[in-house]
């Protein structure tokens, strides 16, 4: 039992951090956020060149999976820099779904291009009313045309506007909340009947509601067994939560650092406000939250691909609870300790605050995971 990184892992972390602090500093990031697409193809391509988009791609398709610790380290650095590119959606979630469900031919057609960054594939799963319930899917796919016809509406599909390929979950059979009967279809952007209602999200990313009106796809758009996608979706989701926890720790640390730095320089009553015990103890509490979140991000990373599904779900949910609570606490306190400056757009702290807020709500909020932890503990 040990928590050390290998030389290579450490070097990877440093490389990503160096790259981002050079190319993704506060002002550069703001410029990206304000660009029409809201993300940078140039940065994305460079991430691909550095091999970072290939971490979850299997070796036979030009990748390095499973690169558990490398993923952890990379996401930590991305969190610190508040990267808005579709890393979680495509390089983690999308990749994991294609990897698990695709036939060898489908994998070879999609994954190598994802590893280099040429292609972006994101899951289109959630629906209004389903909240975070993974098996509640009303979108349908029926046999017709040259293969299947899809109908329904997907809610808050993160990074959908950037995607070349949407991995749409649709029900091919079963009741609306049944685990059995779910299928995943690879639907290229621009397919007839597919409409995006795009918007920015509160944390500066982009998303869309996706409307599917009699969208015809060929039979080979189906990834994996018809009606049998749930186990793979659930596994991908847990891998995504673990990745999100790793990213969160990067954001949390950046938020704490910004706060200690600010309170050290801001003077009131003739002294730096960091001298005041009321503020010191708040920062000690923030630090404890960050460290507990860091511990759980390690545990989640190590269990995210566990064969024991119950143990995987239980551990990942426990991690998301601790991380989600840390996001809420550290974000709120950081803004409070920055005073008026904390509620402006001028400092990084408000950007961190919004990302932390979004992380807590992504892939299941704290209550969802607390509930799942209880269920899986029985």
């Amino acid at each position: 039992m040990h928590f050390q990184l290998t030389e290579e892992q450490r070097a990877l972390g440093e490389m990503v951090q160096r790259f981002l602090s050079k190319e993704y500093a506060f002002d550069a990031r703001r410029k990206i956020l304000r660009s029409p697409d809201g993300w940078s193809r140039e940065i994305w391509t460079k991430l691909g060149e550095m091999g970072l988009l290939a971490l979850q791609v299997p070796e036979e398709h030009g990748g390095m999976a499973p690169a558990t610790v490398e993923t952890l380290v990379t996401l930590g650095a991305m969190g610190r820099a508040l990267v808005v590119e579709p890393y979680l959606s495509s390089a983690i979630l999308g990749t994991a779904i294609v990897r698990a469900l695709g036939s060898p031919a489908q994998r070879e057609a999609i994954l190598p291009a994802m590893a280099t960054g040429e292609r972006i594939a994101v899951p289109a799963h959630g629906e209004a009313g389903a909240r975070f319930d993974l098996s509640r899917v009303a979108t349908t796919a029926r046999k017709g045309g040259a293969g299947f016809v899809l109908d329904g509406r997907k809610a808050v599909v993160l990074h959908a506007p950037a995607a070349d390929l949407l991995l749409v979950t649709a029900r091919t059979s079963g009741a609306e909340d049944a685990e059995a009967g779910l299928s995943v279809f690879a639907v290229p952007a621009g397919t007839r009947g597919l409409t995006l209602v795009p918007y920015p999200t509160i944390d500066g990313m982009r998303g869309a509601d996706v409307v599917l009106a009699s969208v015809e796809v060929p039979a080979d758009a189906l990834l994996g067994p018809e009606g049998g996608a749930f186990p793979a979706l659930s596994a991908a989701q847990d891998l995504g939560v673990a990745a999100l926890c790793a990213e969160a720790v990067g954001v949390l640390q950046a938020t704490l650092d910004a706060t200690t730095e600010y309170t050290r320089t801001r003077k009131q009553f003739g002294v730096p406000i960091a001298r005041f015990q009321a503020l010191q103890h708040r920062m000690a509490d923030m630090l404890m939250n960050v460290e507990q979140a860091r511990s759980m991000s390690y545990l989640a990373a190590m269990h995210a691909a566990s064969e024991d599904v119950r143990e995987r779900r239980r551990t990942v949910s426990a991690a998301k609870v601790i991380v989600g609570q840390a996001c809420r606490y550290v974000g709120q306190q950081a803004v409070q300790l920055h005073g008026g400056m904390g509620v402006t757009d001028e400092l990084s702290v408000s950007h961190c605050f919004k990302r932390l807020m979004a992380i807590e709500l992504t892939l299941g909020d704290t209550e969802h995971h607390l509930e799942r932890f209880i269920r899986e503990s029985k």
Binding site: M1, H2, F3, Q4, L5, Q9, V69, L72, T260, T263, R264, A274, R275, Q277, Q280, H281, M283, A284, D285, L287, M288, E291, Q292, A293, S295, M296, Y298, L299, M302, T315, A318, V321, I322, L370, E371, F373, I374, S377
Partner: protein, 398 residues
């Protein structure tokens, strides 16, 4: 990074478990698992059982008769002991004065004191706090004046845990009143049988007699009982505090209490259903379980850093704060779980073998008292507020 225990560590765990299975007397185990009073004889007897096995000093190096276990093995040992329900080993000799004597004591002190700690022959207690010196420990005033080959000690110590059973007390005493407060403190070992030493009980909110006042009136202490150098006691005390906090997260004990809480919650009923299935209660219970899981990993991170030969650092403060918060949360949920049956308070029922008429479920009897007792956890060993000061200064550098 690898969060699983090695096959050797797993094998070690099995060995400990098998030993405990065979050697922990069932009566002792019963008292611990049911939260009943554990008499001092049990504590001593358990130390002796371990000593006979060669495990009397789980945290000591082999040079002093200890096991030489690394921090991870010590953690496994403590976890297994807690799960099995062994009496708690007294920290005062093993974790406090023992390491100080080893590090700063002379050869004569090694030979005289250390073996008797291992064998359970000497019961030690800790003489730090004074009525006017709590969190501000360095302001202590108990005076030791050198007269020939003796110190003459006068003053009062307080909150001395289990001093009523102690053979020896290690004390911080003032030997110099001129300079900075920290610079005039010495570390003195005092035989409790010395004339002029008086122990007075302090009855606590749970009715228990756990702590005492210890008074010193012209107590003559031989100079050879000074540890290290005169006026260097503060350095030794800080060294000791680091060791005391290293295992203060109490992960093993909290896991055991969590299991007990789950048993109680599955017995108790709310709206005719097991309390464990009540969504509000289940959520609170799950929250503590998750907090404990996170703290366990944090603890292992600290241990792993220690195994790389880094001394227990300020991270120990985090373990102390979170560990005691969890212990208190568990004791709180436990008395809440039994509802009105937390109220009957019969001190006799807290001892094993109570034969009076049953009132409520047997497990309910000690729960309110335990809850009251556990309020101490966030106060002792440096209050949690002091620990936050340490975190701000030592980790955040504010």
């Amino acid at each position: 990074m690898d969060l699983s225990f090695t096959p050797e560590e797993q094998q070690f765990r099995d060995e400990v478990r098998a030993f405990l299975d065979q050697n922990l007397p069932p009566a002792m185990r019963h008292k611990v698992l049911e939260g009943l009073h554990v008499p001092p004889e049990d504590t001593v007897e358990w130390q002796r059982i371990l000593f006979r096995k060669g495990w009397g000093g789980p945290n000591w190096p082999t040079a002093f008769g200890g096991t030489g276990w690394d921090p991870v093995r010590q953690f496994i040992f403590e976890e297994e002991c807690a799960a099995a329900g062994t009496p708690r080993l007294l920290p005062f000799g093993l974790k406090m004065v023992g390491p100080v004597i080893q590090r700063f004591g002379n050869a004569a002190q090694h030979a005289r004191f250390l073996p008797r700690i291992l064998s359970g022959e000497d019961w030690w207690c800790q003489g730090y706090s004074e009525p006017e010196s709590g969190s501000d420990l360095a302001s202590l005033r108990t005076l030791a004046v050198r007269e020939g080959d003796h110190y003459v000690v006068n003053g009062q110590k307080t909150w001395i845990t289990l001093a009523q059973h102690a053979d020896w007390i290690f004390c911080l005493v003032r030997t110099d009143r001129t300079g900075k407060a920290q610079a005039g403190i010495s570390f003195l070992l005092i035989d409790m049988k010395t004339p002029g030493v008086t122990v007075r009980p302090i009855v606590m909110l749970d009715g228990g007699h756990e702590v005492n006042e210890v008074w010193f009136e012209d107590v003559k202490v031989p100079v050879e009982n000074l540890v290290g150098e005169e006026n260097k006691g503060w350095t030794y005390a800080k060294f000791l505090l680091g060791h005391e906090r290293a295992n203060i997260a109490g992960i093993g004990g909290s896991k055991r209490e969590l299991a007990r809480l789950k048993r109680i919650a599955s017995e108790e009923r709310k709206h005719g259903r097991p309390l464990a299935e009540d969504p509000l209660f289940a959520a609170r219970l799950a929250q503590v379980e998750i907090d404990l899981l996170a703290l366990e990993i944090t603890n292992l991170r600290v241990l792993s850093a220690e195994a790389e030969k880094r001394a227990p650092g300020p991270e120990a403060s985090l373990l102390k704060i979170k560990g005691t918060e969890i212990q208190q949360a568990l004791s709180e949920l436990m008395f809440q779980a039994v509802g009105p049956y937390a109220l009957p308070f019969r001190i006799e029922a807290l001892s094993d073998g109570f034969a009076g008429p049953a009132v409520g479920p047997e497990y309910a009897a000690p729960l309110a008292a335990t809850y009251c007792n556990m309020r101490k956890a966030s106060i002792y060993g440096g209050s949690n507020e002091i620990q936050k000061n340490i975190i701000t200064q030592m980790i955040l550098g504010l």
